[in-house]
């Protein structure tokens, strides 16, 4: 028997046991949380992006807009076809390019280029963009997403690796990429 205010052996054991499990819980929680958050962790997200070649510049005739396909720099063995990413390359003239993401700035559906009317059209909700990627009509609030690009030893490179989404630009981070 214990008097009030005193801790019994049994009560102490329960408390020690609870503390013990709490420690174990924390020890397990940290790696579990890291595991769950790993796709969004800072170290990872910085590694998602890199310069990728879209091929020789002369594949893209001046004045035309062509579909190009690259393999996402970050991929896993189970990706299959989904590691491939399409984008629209507009060779303005000379060494001036524009590379647009395939994803509509509204909800990410794949926009199609119509050279006859010089428009990109989205099949989902009818967004339309002019040849330079600026918004023409429909629900998108902005123009098409653009990749940063550079020409090196005759190859067109873009900086890519992440699905462009409307929220990215409003974040302020990575603004340079989806200018």
């Amino acid at each position: 028997m214990t008097s009030p205010g005193e801790t019994s052996r049994r009560g102490l054991l329960v408390r020690i046991g609870a503390l013990f499990n709490l420690v174990a819980g924390v020890v397990l929680a940290v790696p579990i949380a890291r595991y769950l958050l790993s796709p969004a962790s800072r170290k990872r997200t910085r590694a998602y992006e890199s310069w990728i070649s879209l091929g020789a510049v002369d594949q893209f005739p001046a004045g035309e807009t062509r579909l190009a396909i690259y393999r996402n720099p970050f991929h896993t063995p189970s990706d299959g076809d989904t590691a491939k990413v399409p984008c629209w390359v507009r060779h303005v003239d000379g060494n001036a390019f524009q590379v647009f993401a395939i994803n509509c700035a509204h909800l990410g559906c794949p926009v199609r280029w119509f050279p006859q009317s010089n428009l990109f059209m989205c099949p989902c909700h009818g967004g339309a963009y002019y040849a330079d990627g600026s918004r023409a009509s429909g629900p998108p609030e902005r123009g098409l997403f653009e990749y940063a690009w550079k020409v090196e030893s005759g190859q067109l490179h873009i900086r890519a690796g992440e699905l462009p989404t409307p929220g990215l630009t409003t974040l302020g981070v990575r603004r340079s990429r989806w200018a």
Partner: protein
């Protein structure tokens, strides 16, 4: 030891016989043995069907972005009855969402959410959410083009969450793009996490139904009062009640059987859902569309003004859920009968009509350009007859510049813009030129994309588009200036 002895042997150890008998034979008000009270049990039956067929599919399915689509075809073609199991699971899902919604409407109209069944309703709302969660994650596992681009839509919506949108997208996709990790995590959600929640909520829901008793048949004028309700209900259930088994369960069993047969019939005669085109993002000739129960959302997204979209997408769902949860706390007492609750009836009608209209629109997508109309749907002959050379040249411009993708003639072509069968009755030549060159009202400006001769020809053609006997649009001020106006 006979069968009876065996049963007794087990019951001596498990001691489940008595409580089970009590549960099965619990008294319910006489009138609840009704055809209106069969939807909850039917939803449960469908859930069991989904569990069984889901496990069967998991025996074959591979949650790999590189393999899933091929395996779905193996299921459809190479595994005996594989197509049928897939069809049962797909149709079972549609039926389950439908029955859960009907159950909810019935509960709402019969005032069953009122005191003391508030928590039953709240858990029911959670069950609706996890059921929809199952439907959404399941549509991703059918990993085809629609699933792939549907995920892109989901990511675009998630990215709009302020401040953490980017992290939410990475967590949702399991990486920077829609790929292998995305399908794996939707598989884990669909097969472990959401069903786990569903089972837990169903258990609580059922316990509550048993503890509080099934809602009595609402009588106009019989009001729910916190002080007296429990006693009144006990009277109804015990003095005028019948045991759930066998008196009330009969209709439940019959209806569940009918529903199962209906699912099987749809599965057998209509077959499985897809898979659609292969989930290769470089095939961009697609028009992604969500499954039936998300079409209303798809329609909403195309009609919202751009500036409203983000708040509506992010706050709207939370408000709807909070509103549903609040129902029993706002109207927890009083009249149960729908005959004396005109607001409740109107709310149901309003939601139903709104939902049906949006779903109808979602099926027809009048806001989407028809991407192949310009190359696949020639201008009807009667719109070419008796035209001059210039006008026919304009018709060619009309076709080749993809105008048809958004504008219909004789119902063929896109519905994104207005049909142009009678455009010359509405717009004068000047207005036509202005509209073509400058665009506006959701139309892109074609000024840079048409040469002056093309514009002249196009407008000359558009001016011929008016029904016989209807006068062309006139500029009233011109007529007045010439002194011939009214």
């Amino acid at each position: 030891m006979g069968l009876r002895g065996l049963v007794r042997w087990f019951d001596e150890r498990l001691q489940l016989g008595k409580p089970m008998k009590a549960v099965l034979e619990h008294p319910v008000p006489r009138q609840t043995a009704s055809w209106f009270y069969v939807f909850g049990s039917a939803a449960l039956t469908l859930f069991v069907l989904q569990l069984v067929t889901g496990i069967l599919l998991a025996l074959i399915y591979v949650p790999s972005a590189g393999e899933a689509w091929n395996v779905l075809h193996v299921l459809n073609r190479d595994v005996s009855a594989g197509w049928f199991i897939r069809a049962l699971h797909g149709w079972g899902s549609n039926f389950m969402v439908a029955i859960v919604l009907i159950h909810m409407v019935q509960v709402f109209l019969f005032g069953a959410y009122k005191y003391p069944r508030e928590l039953t309703w709240v858990v029911g709302v959670l069950l609706l959410l996890v059921t929809l969660g199952m439907a959404f994650t399941g549509q991703v596992l059918r990993f085809d083009q629609d699933a792939y681009w549907g995920l892109g839509i989901g990511a675009s919506i998630a990215s709009r969450v302020p401040a953490v949108g980017h992290a939410v997208v990475d967590l949702m996709l399991g990486g920077p793009i829609i790929a292998g990790a995305t399908l794996s995590r939707f598989f884990a959600l669909h097969v472990f996490v959401v069903p786990g929640l569903l089972i837990a909520f169903v258990a609580v829901h059922l316990v509550l139904v048993l503890k509080l008793g099934i809602n009595e048949w609402p009588m106009p004028g019989r009001l729910v009062r916190r002080a007296t309700y429990v006693q009144e209900y006990q009277q109804l259930a015990h003095e005028d009640g019948v045991p759930f088994v066998p008196n009330a369960v009969g209709k439940d069993i019959v209806f569940s059987g009918i529903v199962l047969l209906a699912v099987a019939a749809c599965a057998f005669f209509i077959g499985p859902f897809g898979p659609g085109g292969q989930p290769d993002p470089t095939i961009i000739q697609v028009a992604p569309r969500p499954d039936f129960f998300f079409l209303w959302l798809y329609a909403t997204l195309s009609y919202l003004p751009p500036s409203y979209e983000t708040p509506v997408l992010l706050i709207g769902p939370a408000l709807v859920v909070l509103g549903l949860i609040a129902v029993p706390f706002i109207a927890g007492e009083g009249e149960k009968s729908w005959k004396r609750r005109p607001l409740a009836v109107m709310a149901v009608i309003l939601v139903a009509v709104g939902w049906a209209s949006l779903t109808h629109l979602g099926l027809h997508t009048p806001w989407s350009p028809e991407m192949d109309a310009w190359s696949g749907q020639p201008i009807p002959d009667k719109y070419l007859e008796h035209r001059t050379a210039l006008e026919r040249q304009g018709a060619l411009v009309f076709q080749l510049k993809q105008c048809r993708n958004c504008h219909a003639l004789e119902d063929s072509g896109g519905k994104r813009g207005p049909p142009l069968d009678a455009v010359a009755v509405r717009l004068t030549r000047d207005q036509l030129i202005r509209q073509v060159i400058q665009g506006g009202g959701n139309m892109p400006a074609y000024g840079k994309n048409l040469s002056p001769p093309e514009t002249t020809a196009l407008v000359a053609y558009l001016e011929t588009l008016r029904p016989k006997g209807e006068a062309p649009a006139q500029n009233a001020s011109n007529a007045a200036a010439r002194g011939s106006g009214p």
